[in-house]
Subunit: 382 residues, 2 copies
């Protein structure tokens, strides 16, 4: 939220009354619609800043393999995704406070934009994760410095930058330490995921040049100065809507198999590792859903607390565990998918099998980490 | 130790003095050589009983696929191995109290016998473990009742009969729920491990009919009535020798990476899962060594405490974790070995890769379980 000082309209100047809570008015200091407006304006401003940065850096740095500077298109794209997710999430949680025609027309456009912008990075991160795992599984030694080039940084703002363990090491382009099977598996994954990434890059570029995108960007530009609140919003307490978002989260968490997840090495995540069903593990879906609900809860928390709110470390940790869960789940599926490539060598297939199981193991580890952080969580006092 | 009532000479009749501690004499109630003699006599008697049982049941029940009754050759073979291990271990720990010529000539013979008798069961248990894992990984449903036939019971007396988790379920001969890859992997493992098992069965039968075995059995028959103690043994305190065995154990445990092992999902066990080195994981060796030292410590504890000693549950639990560690380590190696079979299908190799990683995951889980039980352990008060 450090970007908020770039906001042309200082949100703090809009506070009503002497209360330190941003946007509070007439309801005993409770946050009302103005706090939501402040938040949306700040996110819209951040979106416009990131878009400008993306246009400035994107043209010189080029495609997915371009050189990455301190203000590179990867950072800009991440900032774009961050802002779009927050606007989209706030529209969802605080829907009754916003002009219904406007928010109903915006929501599918934001979802489209968010999805389109996420794909390229997701493929890059998936490849990095899988190559790192192959190196770890081969007992290869990692350098202390992050590699540039294929490495595109952490997947999202909350993607465990300080996580311990071998997976946190960067991948090296060298495959000299790998066995034939691991090297071939790495080459196959690199081919398949780089292709998918390049396609996503083109799709994202096309999207950013489309009239559909320009329409969304225009709407967000308007949002940076004028938030279409309903007439009643300025005196409506935001907390019941935020509580409802939290309630949806806690309900979904309650339905998770947390007792099993809290028992280390329960071997649940791999239970369908050789199932005939090629679809993604159905057991992962409730966890993915909690990940989305946790994010909505976190954004609602940001709206209520304003720009100066301290980060809720426990919510962040739980969210990081679920990000890791999602990433490992998708990486495991990619390894299984690669193993279905026709005419691969048995050694390649063997390495992909080990890799798949390793990533399912990561899925299980992430569930354990979530369970641990959730137990510590004082739910209800975000 | 319930078999001790079968001992022709009641060991309790040999106690010196009114002390309740068996075999104590003249050293303030401390256990002396007589306690060792009692223990060795009891184990030798148990060996002879198991051998008689093995001969009676083995001829009618036949080979490794014979019908298994309540007093089957599997039980008899297990009882034989149990007794041989205990005699062998006691000779090692309490060597200074025994006639050196006799014990030095006995020890390699007992090691040979113990190793020869263990192989068949080890291959059978390994196959069972791997087929169970394949079923679990395929999401197959298990019957509630143990299967007969290939199943040969738990690997050792301490092989976690009540362990939780899917791996505790018995295997079914049906492979209908498996994918092609899992079914082919299962068939390949079954072929390879059944062949190894059959060979071990023949080797064991040959060994039991050999003059070398008859010489060992004669020595053990003598041991059942007359233990060759040194003249000083009847007044020598056993506890320093038992403490030395415990010291060797605690030194070896101290050298284990227990901090890592106590951190769930540390991903250490699979770190060389795709290493070019086809040898068994060198990281497993210190754990295997601790397993042997723990066993020697447990047997020394049995000698000191006598027949009525309560089982030390924590030592038993720690030992079970290390048994599981060894079994999973060997099963993982067997899966990796099978994957090197020429001309296997990629789907088979993939399934073997998943299976290998699953068993290495089990190795890691066993280390965690050992660390947990060891932390609870009050070392020094066995």
């Amino acid at each position: 939220m450090a970007q908020q000082h770039l906001d042309p309209t200082d949100p703090r100047s809009r506070h009503v009354g002497p209360s330190p809570t941003p946007g509070s008015a007439g309801t005993g200091g409770a946050p009302v619609g103005d706090a939501l407006a402040d938040y949306l304006r700040a996110q819209a401003t951040e979106f416009l800043r990131a878009l400008r940065l993306h246009r400035e850096t994107g043209t010189t740095a080029g495609g997915p393999n371009g050189a990455a500077g301190p203000e590179d298109p990867v950072d800009a794209a991440r900032a774009l995704r961050r802002a779009v997710r927050r606007i989209s999430g706030s529209l969802h949680t605080f829907r009754p406070l916003l002009d219904p025609d406007w928010s109903e027309s915006m929501r599918p456009e934001l979802a489209w934009l968010s999805g389109t912008l996420a794909m390229e990075h997701a493929y890059a991160a998936r490849l990095e994760r899988l190559l790192l795992a192959l190196h770890r599984l081969s007992g290869a030694v990692f350098p202390a410095q992050p590699a540039v080039g294929a490495a595109v940084g952490s997947r999202s703002a909350g993607a465990e930058p300080g996580a311990a363990g071998p997976a946190a090491h960067p991948v090296t382009p060298d495959r000299g330490n790998l066995t034939v099977g691991a090297a071939k598996a790495g080459a196959l994954l690199e081919r398949q995921l780089t292709l998918a990434r390049t396609r996503s890059h083109s799709t994202a570029l096309q999207a950013l040049g489309s009239s559909r995108f320009h329409a969304v960007a225009d709407h967000i530009a308007v949002l940076a100065s004028e938030v279409p609140l309903t007439p009643a919003a300025t005196t409506t307490d935001l907390r019941p809507l935020a509580s409802a978002a939290e309630g949806r989260l806690t309900d979904a968490v309650t339905a998770l198999p947390l007792v099993t997840a809290g028992h280390p090495y329960n071997a649940e995540a791999l239970i369908h590792g050789l199932s005939p069903d090629p679809a993604p593990h159905p057991q992962d879906a409730p966890w993915h859903q909690v990940r989305l609900l946790l994010r909505l809860h976190r954004y609602a928390h940001e709206v209520l607390q304003g720009a100066d709110a301290p980060v809720n470390v426990r919510l962040l940790t739980a969210g990081q565990a679920l990000d890791r869960h999602r990433d490992a789940s998708e990486a495991a599926a990619a390894a299984a998918q690669a193993a279905r490539t026709p005419r691969i060598a048995p050694a390649t297939a063997y390495a992909l099998g080990v890799l798949h199981a390793d990533q399912r193991h990561e899925v299980e580890a992430a569930r354990f980490a979530f369970q641990q952080s959730w137990q510590k969580q004082t739910v209800g006092t975000p």
